[in-house]
């Protein structure tokens, strides 16, 4: 367990971060904190991907000086996945923030439970 954990130190960190983000998104009442949790969760996945694509001693996969050997570069696919993932998470975060602004304007609070309580009172 010990040496194994040490060799996969980065992966372990990213899993812990994932759990923190997941719990934040699930359990917090405050909407902004939920969104922060979402971002922590997504970032941890990107960290995981980046670690998986990295090969020690290899460089960025951009061909310079005509070196085309596979042994010179890291795996570019996870980097591409991270980029796609970032685009998705940015748009989702923007959508969540806009929803939060709307709810705040209506109810002057960021507490989701409080909002639900008031909605029940309104009886719409």
């Amino acid at each position: 367990m010990g040496p194994n954990l040490w060799a996969n130190f980065g992966e372990a960190v990213s899993m812990i971060l994932f759990c923190i983000g997941f719990a934040n998104l699930l359990l917090h009442k405050n909407l902004i904190k939920k969104i922060i949790g979402l971002n922590i969760m997504d970032s941890s996945i990107y960290l995981f991907l980046a670690l998986k694509g990295y090969i020690a001693g290899h460089t960025v996969p951009i061909v310079v000086d005509g070196v085309q050997s596979v042994d010179a570069y890291i795996n570019p696919i996870p980097s591409g996945l991270v980029l796609t993932g970032i685009v998705v998470s940015v748009s989702v975060t923007a959508l969540m923030l806009s929803l939060t602004i709307r709810l705040y304007r209506r109810y002057q609070t960021l507490d989701l439970d409080e909002i639900s309580k008031r909605l029940k009172k309104e009886g719409l």
Partner: protein, 496 residues
């Protein structure tokens, strides 16, 4: 014919581009573009289905002409083409049935946006059906989530925004898990294309090298998609999201969006993990138990509900439970039953929503049961539609719901270990279904002295036509079940 290979790609792109173009069109033009594009995709899918039926070959379309392990692929077999056809039909009926309500409930400037969202929704559903690449599937899952969120909150009031937030939170948790699962799968197999991953997974499985990561991956994928499709403990957003959004949205969300994720899960089970590996992991028992719990708890919540739309919404939770129960039984026959139930539930649930809206219209807009008394007489076609939907949900012969219950029961008998719980819960759930649906049907056909507003078929021709189409579709699925079951079986065999 080579040209037909392009059809799946065309279907996705037509609906995506019509969404983009709708942004600059007028309201009327956007509406027509939406209608025409759905019809065109319907037609393309029908031709594709006919072609694959005739030749029996699987269509694989290379995106950008990069060969297999590097490029992105679209893959169409019998099941995919048929599901695309079916989804288009339901989308069409839901849109036409709820159009009048849409005019009343949504601000006029936003109608364009609504059609954009519907087009994007259809594009993402088609992409989920057709794609052969896991990461593409993830991206379209997110597009699906975003457009579903838009569909919920297009009718602006406090309830819908809150429902959209709750939906987004649950969905994002699910897609986080899904993405993590995909990344771990990429990590242990080194591929993103479904067929390549399956080869790698089966060799890993037989060599026994990564047992724990493989199990964790299966858990993450299953859990993520179950969360997104509102399986029982994750269903809290359902009632608000289906209950308060405009009726077309509710019909589309309940009958198509959650089904899209389940189709993806079934594809993952067959085409990514491999059915045998999935069955050998004990996740399948967990899915089975949650499916059973959903069947009971969804129905109990529906019985306690006093609002017709929320009641139908909770009934969705129970029906999703049925589908997961079928997946959890873990046999080919049970999987056929699950896919059949996806079709039958999609046809019935959208019909119930469309029927219910007609009933509330003649009851001063109220959705509470007391006000609905006798509404079946005031709006005859809506009453009949709702009654047919209820009978189908309860499982009366002649309608689609009966066949899916029958298939589930037969599948349960074939699985000796899970037979008893499955059959008992199936029976209890049917009784619970009968309690709340029959209660409503009796309520809407109880005569009252009160003279309310009456709507005849002539006043709402489009609505009446939609209702008749729904009833015909439901009876068709119920009566011609054998060809449909054969088709699903052949489609599942093509997955392998």
């Amino acid at each position: 014919m080579d040209f037909i290979c392009n059809f799946p790609f065309f279907s996705i792109m037509i609906s995506m581009f019509s969404g983009i173009v709708s942004a600059v069109l007028s309201r009327k033009a956007a509406k027509w573009l939406n209608l025409i594009s759905i019809w065109v995709i319907w037609f393309l899918s029908a031709v594709l289905l006919y072609y694959i039926f005739g030749t029996g070959e699987i269509i694989v379309y290379k995106m950008g002409h990069f060969p297999a392990p590097w490029g992105n692929e679209i893959r169409a077999g019998l099941l995919e083409a048929g599901l695309a056809l079916f989804f288009c039909s339901i989308m069409l009926l839901s849109m036409t049935g709820g159009r009048k309500k849409l005019m009343g409930e949504v601000v006029e400037e936003k109608h364009n946006l609504y059609y954009i969202l519907v087009d994007l929704m259809l594009a993402s559903l088609l992409a989920l059906i057709y794609t052969n690449d896991l990461f593409t599937a993830y991206v379209f899952v997110e597009i699906n989530t975003i457009s579903a969120c838009g569909l919920i909150m297009i009718r602006q009031n406090g309830r819908t925004i809150e429902a959209a937030v709750r939906y987004m939170i649950m969905s994002l948790l699910g897609s986080g898990l899904l993405l993590m699962g995909i990344c771990m799968l990429y990590d242990i197999t080194g591929h993103l294309l479904m067929s390549n991953i399956r080869d790698a997974v089966s060799s890993i499985y037989s060599a026994g090298t990564y047992p724990v990561p493989l199990t964790v991956t299966i858990i993450l994928l299953t859990c993520g998609l179950a969360m997104k499709s509102a399986l029982f403990p994750f269903h809290t957003w359902v009632a608000d999201a289906y209950g308060y959004s405009t009726v077309s949205s509710a019909a589309i969300l309940s009958s198509l969006v959650s089904k899209g994720y389940i189709i993806l899960l079934i594809k993952i089970i067959y085409r990514v993990i491999g059915f045998e590996v999935y069955r050998a992991s004990h996740i399948i028992d967990v899915v089975f138990v949650f499916g059973l719990a959903g069947m009971i708890m969804g129905s109990i919540s529906a019985i306690r509900e006093n609002d017709i739309r929320r009641m139908i919404a909770y009934s969705s939770v129970a029906q999703i439970g049925y589908i997961y129960m079928g997946i959890g039984l873990g046999t080919r026959y049970a999987m056929i039953a699950s896919i059949f139930h996806i079709l039958s539930h999609a046809a019935t649930k959208s019909m119930l929503f469309i029927g219910a809206i007609g009933l509330t219209d003649v009851s001063k807009g109220s959705r509470h049961f007391e006000e609905l008394t006798g509404s079946g007489y005031r709006h005859k076609i809506a009453g009949i539609t709702f009654a047919v939907g209820s009978l189908s949900m309860v499982g009366i012969p002649l309608f689609s719901g009966f066949i899916s219950k029958l298939l589930f029961a037969q599948a349960a008998v074939l699985n000796t270990r899970k037979m008893l719980p499955a059959l008992i819960v199936l029976a209890i759930s049917t009784i619970l279904n009968a309690i709340y649906f029959m209660k409503t049907v009796i309520r809407i056909y109880t005569p009252t002295e009160e003279e309310g507003e009456r709507i005849t078929m002539k006043q709402e021709k489009v609505y009446a036509l939609t209702c008749i189409c729904f009833i015909a579709l439901n009876i068709f699925i119920g009566m011609c079940s054998q060809p449909i079951v054969d088709w699903i079986g052949a489609g599942i065999d093509m997955f392998a």
